[in-house]
Point group: C2
Amino acid sequence: MSTTPSSPATHAHRFARARAAQSVALLEDYAELIGDLHAEMGEARVADIAARMGVAQPTATKAIARLKREGLVTSRPYRGVFLTDAGAALADRVRRRHRTVVAFLVAVGVPADVAEMDAEGIEHHVSDRTLSAFEGFLLGAG
Amino acid sequence: MSTTPSSPATHAHRFARARAAQSVALLEDYAELIGDLHAEMGEARVADIAARMGVAQPTATKAIARLKREGLVTSRPYRGVFLTDAGAALADRVRRRHRTVVAFLVAVGVPADVAEMDAEGIEHHVSDRTLSAFEGFLLGAG
DNA sequence: GTCGAAACATAGCCTTGGCTATGTGATATA
DNA sequence: TATATCACATAGCCAAGGCTATGTTTCGAC
């Protein structure tokens, strides 16, 4: 059996979904990071965001511009970046999902550091139903 | 506890890894698909590749050009696309990993159709060690 | 208050991965 | 064999996400 011989349309749809997930992944990461920075340091400055994301400062500035367009953050120059209600909600969801994915990976035997690494990419493609399965597994195995 | 308070550098490194994984994800998908098409239909034509990927034909052509630059495929116009040895090896790895991820997700309670969906995005971020953990789990639970 | 350094913005460039529109080569069939 | 059709290539556009180089602001130290 060469996997499920799904139709071209179905196959294409899966790829489309993965592409869509990818396009919001960056927004999710920035939102979560901005929330973390506020929790840890009381503010989220562009320079810190860039450093944590591992990108140059103008790259972070550009990403923040996109977050603003999407209504996820506001910012005042030289005053930091602030999550909107929608942004904060997104950050919370992402943070919970991230923790669940890491905990789940560790629970099935992935070393903690590897779990953190892989989760960073995996989490954006974990649907609600899959997340539920992970949570169910953690309850059962906990 | 706000997860592990990892250093900015470590945090940045994880994102860099996720970005790198993303940059090869498309190559992996195309390689696997071209292998599948050869297995199923004896050849891989640009039009079929585009249809299965869910993109317009010029988009597929452009991607194939990149695959050629990377030494993964060769192609003769109007004669189809062919995997090189490196491309075939990649396709095999990707296909095995894909199957393992899907089987693993199903094993932990994810519905099959959802597993197929999510695996399409997840698989590209599953490291060798995590894949080993998945295989180990499948053996134990099988 | 001035001034230098740090923080941020802006401009301009690159690659990737989408798209549409349109040109061209191959093939089959009438 | 001529031509219509299909398959593919090419051109040109766009947004996203990187980068470097170079203005501006802000702010703290003096």
